[in-house]
Symmetry: C2
Subunit: 109 residues, 2 copies
């Protein structure tokens, strides 16, 4: 997984990790707070967090014994950009197909 999009999409393919992002979108939180809604063991959950950090979607600072996590929006924006790009190419093609179809209308009958 060399390309940034590889790891970003990989990270977002897990529901636990998406839930963490959804939670962090509305503000920073500690590891325990993030873990609370999830049934899995803490070490398991921590590995999900680690994936998010390695991908650069989440950053964290430890103060005393509490690690506080927050979102880093750049990777998310990059992924959005890629999807938008695909959509654009694909829409342009469909539009031009419509245009061709329309230009052929004049030859009807």
């Amino acid at each position: 997984m060399t390309h940034p999009l590889d790891s970003f999409f990989g990270a977002m393919s897990d529901p636990t990790r998406r839930a963490v992002i959804e939670r962090l979108a509305s503000g920073p939180a500690s590891v325990s707070e993030l873990h609370a809604p999830h049934k899995m063991a803490l070490p398991t959950f921590m590995r999900h967090l680690k994936v998010l950090e390695e991908t650069g979607i989440v950053r964290s600072i430890k103060k005393g014994r509490v690690r506080t996590c927050h979102i880093e929006p750049e990777p998310l924006i990059a992924a959005q950009g890629w999807l938008a790009w695909q959509k654009e190419i694909w829409e342009n093609r469909l539009d031009s197909m419509d245009a061709v179809a329309a230009s052929l209308e004049q030859f009807k009958d």
Copy 2:
């Protein structure tokens, strides 16, 4: 992987599969055409295609011995929607933090 976004993001986390999508965005293609730029063995490549089909991002029709593949945009749009949603929540929060900061300005000194 139950949620549609799980499989969508999972599918897009592989560079080969993203390349296929990029190719298909500009128009339908046969399995051989799609396979050509990739160094891997055909059966391996076919499994990538299968992942894309199972996720609903790609559909295909077989005519004679040729299978032609095309994009199904819905899953892509759904994913874009999710990302846009996250971004919106996150931006609203930052805006309101700005607002709070601004409203505190009057108490300066």
